[in-house]
Amino acid sequence: MLADRTIVVTGGSGAIGAAIVRGLAAQGAHVALTYKRGKERAETLQSEITALGRRCLVAAVDACDGKAIEGFAARVESELGPVDVLVNNLGSTQVLPFALIEESDWDEMLSVNLKGLFLFSRAFVRGMIRRKRGVIVNLGSLAGHRMLEVPVHYATAKAAVTGFTLSLAKEVSRYGIRVNEVVPGLIKGGVGLNVTDRQLAAYNEHCSLGRPGRPEEVADLVVFLASERASYINAQSISIDGGI
């Protein structure tokens, strides 16, 4: 499905990111992944991917550092070849009620979640425009689409992923670049690990399937959108939440 494609996954060492990396590699892709704190996990994952016969590059990249991201993009193209797909997966949250969110928290949350989205996209879209093909998959969140008990700054950033996806798709689809958003609900191993038993029960009550999702289920959707089988899917926000 993705044989010999070169794919970048940001935030590839977390639970969902690692599942995406594994899913892409399983379909034949070479993967470059970034991490912030999960060096050990990233390197373990790298060994796992290379054992499959794929090439894998890992790098610690600050999502708010444009120069570092440009450098990373150049390194990927140099070591793995032109990038076919970018998966903007990285994200961060803080568990803070509205009353305790200060200006610095707001700036940091929007910076990590949105500036990184913008900077990574800009770094890789340039080559995609030149080649007149490419795919971008952005990871949003149910928090940006529904009234949930989540930190306001995180929900705001994730809601913005939808607007970013729509407008970028409008700009670049003329070059054969598709841009879509995956909108996960509560996923085991993700930020969902911070939910309380009551929050989990409430989620399950409102979810038709009555359970949180698995990282591999999100990965399957990302793999599909990254592939040519999704060639007519563009500018969409696709929920994967068990039916809320």
Binding site: A15, R37, V95, L96, P97, A99, L100, L193, N194, T196
Partner: protein
């Protein structure tokens, strides 16, 4: 115990009978009638022994406090396993009996009767031929404890002086097993200061230390401990700090001796991150040393709370204390406090009601946040923020949330518990009973229970006053 409702009149001569129960005669040990009586604002326990006459002991310095404390909700939680059939009235069938009103929240496990001090205030008994509990026996007692309780938040390993036990570390390793949360170790600190490798081992094992610290005055040390051990205490504190061992300061408050040192203990609690808790234990005039220590003046819980209010310049008020929900109000008062690295303490009552706090403390000594308490916390937090009140508490709460939910992969529940402990400290005021203040209504609600053998959990004061004496290992042997 019968009780009647009344309002404090303010008349110093007015006598009100508050209730009747049973207690002990100090002279003959007989079980005798006792009654709670208010004389003006002060509440006494009066006992009447047919052989030795009438005696009274102060149990509350303020009638209003007493009435308010007695009206608090209790956490009714009967023991999971009791002695088969009640054979005699309390305290003579303890084990506990089926009439006991509280499960064991603080199991106390003495592992030796050896001690390197002969404190005149001690309520234990040192023996000339020391006993060191074999680890196998300790393990059997733990088996019984877990069977009897189904698991506990914490255990307390004590002595004598447990650090003298040659197999202490083996025993501590045995205690690290499923069903046991926090392991606390009582010590007078002499071993910590003199054997630095011991502190390193305790830190490695994740042990919490309960350090006896009654005075930092040399003359008073001799009065209380029979020797000047101030330097040892200072060394112990430095060692605990160096190894960042979570520590409870256990301070025995003795009327006429060390009451003026309260500010030091509060400062220590506030300033040092390794000091997580302060327990003020009022002098109990019983046991090898304590029974002959004088002058005999029991200090009730509310008097200690007033001392703390004075010593803290009202930063911590009497109203910031509440009865521990799992114990009798005359036995335990507690104040939970938010704390930060800057050395400030802020009573949790500024944020939550006592009922809400009690809801988190219904399972013992440690707070167990629930969905209800979390919801109450959020509402309270919004209230403070909207009113612009208590900015320090808001800052501490934010730091705590950031520590509980760090960036990156979530931490596990134990790491989270440890992280939270840095921000919530406690002051317990604990009044053990002696023969003068003993009353079965208090004994029957005791959550501190001594694992006396492989089949009995005995309330701590019942043990100290009745069961310890004939115990061949930990008593006077008679």
């Amino acid at each position: 115990m019968e009780s009647c409702a009344l309002r404090p009149s303010g008349d110093a001569n007015q006598v009100n009978y508050l209730g009747q129960s049973r207690g002990l005669c100090r002279e003959c040990g007989d079980r005798v009638e006792v009654r709670y009586v208010a004389r003006g604002q002060r509440v006494y326990l009066e006992r009447l022994c047919p052989k030795h006459g009438k005696h009274d002991a102060l149990v509350a310095g303020d009638l209003s406090w007493y009435l308010e404390a007695m009206s608090h909700d209790v956490a009714p939680c009967p023991p999971r396993k009791v002695r088969a059939e009640k054979q005699a009235p309390c305290p003579d069938a303890c084990g506990p009996c089926l009439f006991h009103g509280q499960r064991c929240h603080l199991p106390v496990l003495p592992i030796t009767n050896a001690c390197n001090l002969r404190c005149p205030i001690c309520f234990g008994y040192n023996r000339s031929a020391p006993y060191f509990m074999p680890p196998e026996e300790f393990a059997k007692r733990l088996d019984f404890l877990l069977e009897a309780t189904g698991g506990v938040d914490l255990i307390n390993i004590t002595g004598g002086e447990p650090t003298l036990h040659p197999q202490l570390l083996d025993i501590l390793r045995l205690a690290k097993r499923p069903g046991i949360g926090r392991i606390t170790l009582n010590t007078n600190g002499l071993g910590l200061g003199r054997r630095p490798e011991l502190a390193a081992a305790l830190a490695e094992l994740g042990i919490y230390v309960v350090l006896s610290l009654d005075t930092l005055h040399r003359e008073r040390s001799t009065v209380l401990h029979g020797a000047d051990i101030v330097d040892d205490k200072q060394r112990a504190l430095a060692t605990l700090q160096k190894h960042a061992i979570p520590t409870t300061i256990l301070h025995v408050l003795v009327a006429g001796v060390n009451e003026d040192e309260m500010p030091s203990w509060l400062d220590l609690l506030a300033a040092e991150s390794f000091v997580r808790s302060l327990t003020i234990q009022t002098m109990t005039y019983t046991g090898q040393g304590g029974s002959s220590f004088g002058p005999r003046r029991p200090i009730p819980v509310d008097e200690v709370e007033r001392m703390i209010e004075g010593a803290s310049a009202a930063r911590i008020k009497v109203s910031d204390f509440m009865p521990l929900p799992t114990a009798h109000p005359l036995c335990y008062g507690v104040s939970y406090l938010f704390s930060d690295e800057a050395g400030s303490l802020h009573p949790m009552t500024r944020l939550l009601s006592k009922t809400e706090i009690a809801g988190m403390a219904r399972d013992g000594y440690l707070l167990h946040p629930s969905d209800e308490s979390n919801a109450a916390m959020k509402v309270a937090l919004d209230r403070l923020w909207s009113e612009g009140a208590e900015p320090d508490i808001l800052r501490i709460l934010k730091n705590m949330l950031t520590a509980l939910y760090p960036p990156g992969p979530p931490i596990d529940v134990y790491q989270r518990q440890r992280a939270a402990e840095r921000f919530v400290k406690t002051i317990f005021v604990h009044a053990h009973m002696d023969e003068d203040t003993y009353e079965v209504g208090r004994a029957m609600r005791c959550p501190d229970q001594v694992v006396m053998d492989r089949e009995h959990l005995v309330g701590a004061c019942n043990f100290n006053l009745i069961y310890r004496m004939p115990d061949p290992l930990f008593g006077a042997g008679r």
